[in-house]
């Protein structure tokens, strides 16, 4: 198993390398203008000097090489535009914790609501709990997030008697962003758990359990549920890590000083070093999510052993 993990991680590192290098090269396709705040009034020499100081004048392979050498030493470079001359790691280190906290809460909330909701819906398929749940899910998915987040913010703040913008120190301020953030996942978990429960409930072992005299509730809870969680559990770490890296809408709305939207901001503002740092972080997160997902699957499903699992069931 360790060997498998080592192999897996090795391959992931390779993938990571390709991803970040690719992004690195793609970013060089961006027009030069983006690197300067007042390109308009700059002279040729100034532009040269600017590019030079960002290391953009060297041949691409040299740039890539330098980037990786530095990255291996834990130096992701400094931000050129987002926060001039501040090191990327320090920026990320400041932003990440708040997003992680928020993500953890949102995740817990979505699991705590989504899973029982899906369980209920699956158990009472085609009855009113199912229909109600479906209605909620469909609504969450159909109305653009950008819109309902706004409504939550507007009415929620009044209801809670808090300000529109986020304040770390007061727990009340956490409620709305966390709820908003968890909504999508609630729908996701509930919907898929229901789907898998329904699929599972046609299996033979369910019939045996029924013939054994196990009540429907217990069948749903003790037999179907865990089986239905198997395919779902794979996505939980990824989903979790994705909430951890923040939500662009929510963090913008509430001024939460987290990771959300950082990527978009930095791509738009041509802060290449930041983009690279963030992409590296995201890719790590994505890949770790995949590995964790597989690990979780192995934990919950005794049939799957590391060696066999290759590319999904």
């Amino acid at each position: 198993m360790l060997k498998y993990l080592a192999k897996r991680i090795g391959r992931s590192i390779l993938t990571l390398f390709v991803i970040v290098t690719l992004v690195f090269c793609l970013l060089r396709l961006m027009p030069v203008e983006g690197y300067f705040a007042n390109y308009e009034k700059m002279t040729e020499a100034q532009i040269q000097a600017g590019l030079q100081s960002m290391g953009l004048l060297d041949p691409l392979p040299v740039q890539v090489g330098r980037f990786w050498v530095n990255a291996l030493h834990g130096d992701l470079g400094v931000s050129h535009i987002y926060k001039v001359n501040a090191s990327v790691t320090s920026i990320l280190a400041k932003k990440l914790p708040i997003s992680i906290q928020m993500g953890v809460f949102a995740m817990l909330l979505s699991l705590v609501i989504g899973i029982p909701m899906g369980l209920f819906m699956g158990r009472f398929k085609s009855r009113w709990p199912d229909k109600l749940g479906t209605a909620i899910i469909v609504l969450i998915q159909a109305v653009p997030a950008a819109v309902y987040y706004l409504y939550i913010q507007m009415y929620g703040t009044t209801a809670l008697g808090v300000g529109l913008l986020f304040d770390t120190s007061n727990w009340k301020y956490w409620v709305l962003p966390v709820c908003s953030m968890s909504l999508g996942n609630v729908a996701f978990y509930a919907m898929w758990l229901r789907r898998y429960m329904v699929d599972e409930s046609n299996k033979d072992y369910v019939r045996l359990a029924r013939a054994k005299g196990v009540s429907e509730n217990n069948i749903a809870l003790r037999h179907i549920f865990r089986n239905a969680m198997v395919p779902l559990v794979q996505y939980i770490p990824s989903a979790f890590l994705n909430t951890v890296v923040g939500s662009i809408y929510i963090e913008s709305l509430y001024s939460i000083p987290g990771m959300g939207g950082l990527l978009v901001t930095c791509v738009q503002r041509h802060d290449n070093t930041m983009v690279q740092g963030i992409v590296l972080l995201y890719a790590c997160v994505g890949i770790i999510g995949l590995i964790l997902g597989d690990l979780l699957m192995v934990l919950i499903d005794p049939r799957i052993s590391f060696g066999k699992k290759e590319g999904g069931r």
Partner: protein, 652 residues
């Protein structure tokens, strides 16, 4: 010379309305500075630090009259081209408001050296190298030296080498190699004569120099701090020392930004705000108005699209007023005279896409009547009304230079000088149609097909520009297509990033709204977008001369262009008679406009804001960052209403 010599200071401490002293003030922003480094930045927002936390040698009052600042007096020696400033006692304070060191003349020298160090990539170098003796040589040499040290090879194959003596050789293929000997900073025309005496030596007798001083590269910075922090200078509140009306107390990018009153400042008595916090919110345009209503903040922008609903509502109608207008930017439409792919000295232009019929456009644009039909056909009111539902006509311009930009020796506003004085409102449907009707046979003869496609791009990230384009299209087509299918305006969205390089510099437009911000108080600065020196193929705006040289611009249009160039060259030479100088510039500008080489549009529309500040109390200048200074402004106990705003304006 010595056009604008020192004026006495007249500090207007008259506080109107019920001012609450010792107040704190919170502003919601949708952008935050990326850097506090006032020496290197070039963005409007980031200037706020330089404007409020660092004093400049000279200042303005709230009417735009220059007065002493950090310098108590100054004099000008026309022979040696030297300005000498006498500094007052002043201290640097850190982010806790504690005194660190006195401000000395050396701080200006150190700051300028920092600006001229290519590694720091200061964006306003041009405002130094153009005017301070030796600065250009020093800067270029260091750029080349850097290139040589890192072995840069330019795209065109230019190589850089440095020898043991530090002489840099720049070898461009097909040209003789040029050599650059080492330049010491001593050679740059800035000197700390003693602690409180500072001199600048200029390259030529430049009339606008004093107005340049209210700008970033001419601000002081504490030398030892620069030394110590290098490129980390002013990356945080801790690495920034202040000597202005306020000191920077806290700063975290995209989070908080707090400035506090600096009691150490010589002018502290005129500072009426204790703490200014700027809160960042990416959705400020959505949240700001709501937060104002809820009383969570003191100031926010009210977008033009919700303005009337605020004005219509009794609870909010008295809460909205405007920012103080400033003429830092003026807007005008440019024609693309070279819509094809072609090469410039250091970049290539793709030109308009075939679907927008560049051939047809290129033929049409050389027709003066055609252009004039635009000049007379456009009603700028409608586009301005998008941004300024109220009083849009106040922001209309029929010139490139805004009013009250500068005045000649007789106090005559530049716009009343020379031929500019004759320019009146252009919009005139009948005239526009006349020109159109005159143009039709000429264009037909030239082989132009109708309707002529006019590609009109906009930048989606720029608020309301899209709407302005739509309104313009409808309005202009309404006039010119009346009775004849003359033009077809095609609105295209440019990329929101690098809009200028992919659209304007890339020639991907037919007709485009552009703007220009003056750097100093002299009409010369307003010629920058249009004037091209002979052989200078690299100016970034209109490539008028290049267009003539390359044969794109022909006939009477070419004559008009060349006349303009010559007129500017002549005007620049006049440095001893300001009236003559201004007249010459004014004539040139008028010819540019009357020949419809450019179509004036308007000035920046001040934002609608809900504010408790009377901005009319603040400093004012047509260039530089003085308008951003909060010194002298009181915090009111109520929001400024539109009528109060107007009253304040008139009472100023």
């Amino acid at each position: 010379a010595g056009l604008l010599t020192g004026c006495g200071g007249s500090s207007s401490g008259s506080a109107s309305g019920a001012a609450s002293s010792g107040s704190s003030y919170t502003i919601l922003y949708d952008s935050q500075p990326a850097t506090l480094n006032y020496l290197t930045t070039g963005t409007d927002l980031e200037m706020v630090v330089g404007a409020n936390c660092v004093d400049t040698l000279v200042e303005y009052d709230n009417k735009g009259v220059m007065r002493e600042g950090l310098a108590t007096s100054w004099d000008w020696d026309a022979d040696t081209l030297t300005w000498t400033f006498h500094l007052r006692e002043e201290n640097w304070v850190d982010c806790n408001g504690e005194v660190v060191a006195p401000v000395t003349a050396q701080d200006f020298v150190d700051a300028l050296k920092y600006v001229l160090t290519p590694d720091y990539a200061a964006s306003n170098v041009g405002l130094v190298t153009g005017y301070i003796a030796g600065a250009d040589d020093y800067y270029s040499y260091h750029v080349y030296l850097n290139n040589a040290n890192t072995g840069v090879v330019d795209e065109d194959g230019t190589t850089y080498t440095v020898d043991a003596d530090g002489v840099v050789t720049v070898a461009a293929p097909g040209a003789d190699p040029a050599t650059y000997a080492p330049v010491d900073f001593e050679a740059v025309g800035v000197t700390a004569v003693d602690e409180h005496t500072l001199t600048y030596t200029l390259t030529y007798d430049f009339p606008g120099f004093l107005s340049l001083l209210c700008y970033l590269p001419y601000e002081p910075a504490y030398g030892p701090l620069l030394e110590e922090t290098g490129d980390q200078f002013a990356t945080s509140a801790e690495t920034t020392y202040s000597c202005g009306a306020f000191y920077l107390a806290a700063y975290e990018s995209l989070e908080t930004w707090v400035m506090k009153k600096n009691p150490e400042n010589y002018d502290a008595a005129n500072v009426f705000i204790d703490t200014i916090s700027r809160i960042y919110n990416a959705e400020a345009s959505v949240n700001g108005p709501e937060m104002i209503k809820r009383g969570e903040i003191d100031e926010a922008t009210i977008g033009s699209d919700i303005l009337d609903s605020w004005l219509a509502d009794d609870t909010t109608k008295d809460m909205v007023s405007m920012d103080r207008p400033n003429t830092n930017y003026t807007y005008f439409y440019m024609f693309n005279f070279m819509p094809f792919s072609h090469e410039f000295s250091n970049w290539s232009v793709e030109g308009m896409d075939a679907e927008y019929e560049p051939e047809n456009w290129a033929k049409a644009i050389n027709n003066t009547n055609f252009r004039k039909s635009f000049l007379y056909g456009i009603n700028n009111s409608v586009t301005l009304a998008v941004k300024a539902p109220e009083g849009y006509d106040n922001y209309k311009l029929n010139t490139i230079t805004p009013p009250s930009f500068c005045a000649n020796a007789d106090g005559v506003d530049y716009l009343k000088c020379g031929d500019l004085a004759n320019i009146t409102e252009f919009f005139d449907e009948a005239k526009a149609k006349e020109y159109r009707d005159a143009a039709i046979p000429e264009l037909t003869a030239a082989g132009v097909t109708f309707p002529i496609k006019v590609q009109l791009p906009y930048n989606p990230s720029s608020t309301d520009w899209d709407k302005q384009c739509q309104v313009l299209k409808q309005q202009l087509e309404g006039v010119l297509n009346d009775g004849f299918d003359f033009i077809n305006i095609v609105i295209t969205a440019g990329p929101s990033d690098s809009f200028l390089s992919s659209v304007r510099r890339n020639g991907k437009f037919a007709f485009l709204l552009c703007n220009w911000g003056a750097d100093y108080s002299d009409p010369q600065t307003e010629t920058d977008p249009f004037y091209q020196a002979e052989g200078a193929r690299g100016s970034r705006y209109a490539f008028l001369r290049t267009g003539v040289e390359d044969g794109f611009i022909t006939g009477d249009t070419a004559d008009a262009v060349m006349n303009y160039m010559k007129a500017i060259e002549a005007a620049v030479e006049i440095t001893d008679d300001i009236n003559a100088r201004y007249d010459a510039f004014a004539n040139a500008e008028a010819s540019l406009i009357n020949n419809a080489l450019v179509v004036p549009m308007g000035m920046s529309v001040p934002a609608y804001i809900a504010t408790r500040l009377n901005y009319w109390e603040g400093q004012y200048a047509s260039t530089g960052f003085s308008n951003k200074r909060l010194k002298g402004i009181h915090v009111l106990d109520h929001y400024v209403s539109m009528s109060e705003y107007e009253a304040n304006r008139d009472a100023r």
